[in-house]
Structures are given as structure tokens and as C-alpha cells.
């Protein structure tokens, strides 16, 4: 397997979306290709670090304010009927 072939399958590999035979071929490639091993490992870390990053958490006070605005608009929408267009 070439490195480019490995890279093409990287997303499926990381997502566990491969049949056993293809996965085994990729595992074999990783066992001897250090570069692909590092790319695979750091890509996995990239995903994990974003997943755990808590970027853009909605602050509680803003959350309450937004929910109140949403429900008030919904209630207004119900009274006046849906806007045309």
C-alpha cells in the first residue's frame, strides 16, 4: 500500500468504517511507515482536541435570554399566524 492510498482511507480508518481486510492492510502499512503513523496519530489528536475544547460554549445568562426571546417570538407567531412569503 502506498502512503497516498493510506491517506485516502484515513477518515474511514479513524471512524472505524472499514471492512476487516482493508483495516488489516492499513494496520500493516502503519506498522512500518512512521510518517503515516504520525499523521494518523496527530489527526486523531486533532479531532480529540477539538471535541474536548469547549469552544463557543453558550453562557448561562445568554442562554436564558435567547430562550426567552425565542419563546416570546414563537408565542407572537402563534397569535399573528405565520408570516406570508
Amino acid at each position: 500500500m502506498k502512503c497516498s492510498e493510506f491517506l485516502n482511507e484515513l477518515t474511514n480508518y479513524l471512524d472505524g468504517a472499514l471492512d476487516a481486510r482493508t483495516k488489516s492492510e492499513l494496520d500493516d502499512h502503519l506498522a512500518w511507515c512512521h510518517n503515516c503513523y504520525v499523521v494518523c496519530d496527530t489527526t486523531r489528536k486533532t479531532i480529540e482536541i477539538y471535541r474536548n475544547s469547549e469552544l463557543y460554549e453558550l453562557p448561562d445568562d445568554l442562554r436564558v435570554r435567547l430562550r426567552s426571546a425565542i419563546m416570546s417570538k414563537c408565542s407572537g407567531h402563534k397569535k399573528s399566524g405565520p408570516p406570508s412569503g
Partner: protein
């Protein structure tokens, strides 16, 4: 550190029950749906628009649109997937308005394959979480993901941050599954490449800028 847990693991039947109650005019049921997904919609919106005020608007507009179109929701997908589709469209509209000089669509930037090819290969050691404090790390992650084209950023956020499946991401973005996979691969590799500048092992000093 606690992982972001998207609130999408509730039994579908319970969610559909809320949706059906909301369809019958039960606003408390709809409010429960807002509670369940407002954080997710806000994150997605801010990732796409890169602007806090726009993200606040998107949250309101997406839920209001969901509310007023609830009878059109056919219940063939999860409510959350349907809601995300509405929110992504609202967010992209905001982005287009703010950056009219650039065409913003989910189909853009499909030609930038070269950006995805790994150029720098180096271990990340120690772990990035140990190298930077939380505020620094957050700044690095924010700036890095903001540099991705909107189409790639959106797929990455839905799939990898919010934890939608590939099929749900495809549904929410009205893209094919292969298109989602292709964008996801490039998004992941581009982010990895960009983060490499900050996280690569310092000890060797090889080729470091």
C-alpha cells in the same frame, strides 16, 4: 476535561413525542427542544459565522423557523438533524451577508486538495494540553479552525465536534456521503497541518520556523 456531549443520544421516540406535542401546539414541549439543542446550535452557528452576534441571531432564527415549519417536518430524520440543516442555512446566509466579496457555499474550495497533503510530519509531544494553558489553547484552536474554508469547517464541526454521523451530516448539509467524507478528510488534514506549527515536538528543532 469533560468532553462535549451533544444532546443527541436521547431515545428518538422520546424526542419524537416532544415534537408531536409541539406540533399540537404545546409550547412547553417546544421549549424543551430548545433547551435540548440550543448549545449545539449556538456552537455550530458561531463556528460557521465566526461572529458572536450573528450566532445569537442564528439561534433565534433557526428555532423560530423550526417552530413555524414544524408541521412540514416529516419525522423521517431526527429532529436535531432537521434543526441543524435550518441552522446551517441561516448561518451561511449571515456569512454571505458579512463577507459578500467571497462566495460562500458548501460546494466551495473543493479544488484545494494540495492544502490537505501532509507536509510536516512530527510527533506532538508532550500533549498540546500540557504545552499550553486553556486560554492559549482555545486561542490556537479558534484561529486555526477559522482559517478553514466555510465548507470544510462546517463538515468538521458537525461530524467531529457535534458528533453527527456521516449520514446525518450529509442529510443536514444536503450533500452526498462521499462528498462529506472527502471534505471531512481534507478538513481534518488541513487542521492537523496547521496545528502542527504549534504542537510539533520542540526538542529536535528540525525545520522549525
Amino acid at each position: 476535561m469533560s468532553a462535549i456531549q451533544p444532546n443527541i443520544e436521547q431515545p428518538v421516540s422520546e424526542e419524537m413525542e416532544l415534537v408531536r406535542r409541539a406540533k399540537r401546539g404545546d409550547d412547553q414541549a417546544f421549549e424543551e427542544l430548545v433547551r435540548r439543542y440550543d448549545r449545539n446550535v449556538f456552537r455550530i452557528a458561531q463556528h460557521i459565522t465566526q461572529n458572536r452576534e450573528d450566532a445569537e441571531d442564528v439561534v433565534q432564527e433557526a428555532f423560530l423557523k423550526a417552530y413555524s415549519n414544524l408541521e412540514k417536518f416529516q419525522e423521517q430524520s431526527k429532529f436535531y438533524t432537521w434543526l441543524v440543516r435550518i441552522a446551517v442555512n441561516e448561518a451561511l446566509m449571515k456569512l454571505r451577508r458579512r463577507k459578500p466579496e467571497r462566495t460562500v457555499s458548501l460546494d466551495e474550495d473543493v479544488r484545494t486538495e494540495d492544502d490537505s497533503l501532509p507536509r510536516e510530519v512530527a510527533d506532538w509531544s508532550p500533549n498540546p494540553e500540557q504545552m499550553f494553558n486553556q486560554a492559549e489553547l482555545r486561542d490556537i484552536l479558534t484561529r486555526t479552525i477559522q482559517g478553514l474554508p466555510a465548507g470544510f469547517r462546517t463538515v468538521f464541526v458537525l461530524r467531529d465536534v457535534e458528533g453527527l454521523s456521516t449520514e446525518e451530516t450529509a442529510q443536514a448539509l444536503e450533500l452526498s456521503v462521499p462528498a462529506v467524507k472527502s471534505r471531512l478528510l481534507r478538513a481534518r488534514l488541513q487542521l492537523r497541518e496547521r496545528l502542527n506549527r504549534f504542537f510539533q515536538k520542540r526538542a529536535s528543532g528540525d525545520g522549525e520556523q
